[in-house]
Assembly symmetry: C2
Homo-oligomer: 263 residues x 2
């Protein structure tokens, strides 16, 4: 199993504090040492940092820690391999293009007997169930809305349906972003916190590090942080109910729906 | 205009020495300061480091300099913007997937009146002529060889033809790799050197740094380095004739053809 970290904001924000607590779970305070990755949207562009080293020790993670990249949508993942060997091509987040936009995806869980029909457009490069699920998701969106991205609400409804279909095959926690919004699906375990004025001091759960957000923010800033496990021990994290897709935009959860499918 | 750097090897090799000479042309010894990028294939996976900072000053370039990533195919690019503003989405190399493989592309030049029909599968995210050319190239390959990658020779012949078509629109120097081979097209300016036993000491043209390759290689190693301008001043670089596509595999040029099209 793996762990997920996401951030969605109304203004470009750096994720250094949350990433500090998260990365040490990759080999130090927890066992997710089979590679890691983090992806930042910056405008229409995005950059993805990947490493097969444990994030606690990775020189690339040192860079991400010390080089504050400001982004409105971030997705990070630390891996404990289930399907697919430890290799760069199996390291999340995965990236593809759809409707002239980049899409990023990271998954925590394990899908069994998941063998969707091979799509004409999206094919996995590695050997994970996760990349297969991402390709199926994009292929389905692309088939349903050819040519142009639909309005956010229609997009959300379509992803609810697809997440439900894939979720029948096992544990399917994922974070997905197109740079505009962040879609967070809880299959079994995911929680979030929204930081906004009045800002307080947050303290990491994994190490004795605090930050006073009132000193580093403006009153209008708003940041949602989504994680497999709460990253701080003095903030009120909201548990997302299993079988729920949430839509985060401008630092707020703006929609939520059950992905459970009647069988 | 921009500058290109590529490497194709028979065993995974780090590019630190060549990159050292190359990166300082991005804002220090030359004017290409509008962002830069470098992409490494590692097996089927690849990782792309991008930055809108000048490469001479970029913290990401410091990481690439100090963290030797071993790869058989590398493509790097330093940008002086012609078309498309300075932004992450306009920073080369660009990455897409075709036939279950990643493809990487970087371009030096300027294409005029280039408006290919919009493809169904590949669409640019940014606003450069370069990304448009890459999308057209992949779309054409995908249409011609649906489903499965053709043998290397057929692939080369197809790319010769496509490079010729695009090259009619202006200066079109590019490096392209699918992780197996590296395709290098000289539209106006490109050269290469092959390093193999007996290895000698190479000295950078842009700064007073030398490396004795006999100390850091095995006798069977073979590395081709391709660049806009020779990176060393004591090796014999071969100038590629304008209007030529070369195919590098396992550190050697194995094919070459004219892309000039009769009009």
């Amino acid at each position: 199993m793996c762990q997920l970290l996401g951030m969605n904001c109304n203004v470009p924000t750096d994720i250094c504090f949350s990433f500090d607590g998260f990365r040490i779970r990759g080999g130090l305070t927890d066992v997710h040492k089979d590679g890691w990755g983090i992806a930042f949207f910056e405008g229409a562009g995005c950059r993805v940092f990947l490493d097969v080293e444990a994030s606690a020790k990775s020189p690339v993670a040192d860079l991400v820690h010390s080089y504050p990249i400001h982004s409105t949508n971030v997705i990070a993942h630390i891996r404990k391999a289930t399907q697919g060997r430890v290799a760069l091509e199996n390291t999340h987040p995965f990236q593809r293009e759809l409707w002239g936009r980049y899409w990023l995806f990271a998954h925590n869980g394990n899908l069994l007997d998941f063998a969707p029909p091979s799509g004409t457009r999206y094919r996995r490069v590695g050997s994970t169930d996760s990349e297969l699920a991402f390709c199926f998701l994009l292929q389905t969106l692309c088939d349903r809305f050819p040519g142009v991205m639909p309005p956010r609400t229609e997009l959300f409804e379509a992803i609810v349906e697809i997440a439900g279909q894939i979720g029948k095959h096992g544990e399917f926690n994922f974070l997905l972003s197109n740079g505009d919004s962040l879609f967070a699906h809880c299959g079994s375990k995911l929680c979030y916190v929204v930081r906004q004025a009045p800002f307080t001091t947050a303290h990491l759960a994994d190490q004795d590090v605090s930050v006073d957000f009132s000193e580093v923010t403006s009153p209008d800033d708003r940041v949602a942080v989504i994680a497999t496990q709460a990253l701080t021990d003095n903030e009120s994290w909201t548990t997302i109910a299993p079988g729920t897709l949430m839509l985060f935009h401008d630092g707020l959860p703006i929609d939520s729906a059950s992905t459970a499918i009647a069988v």
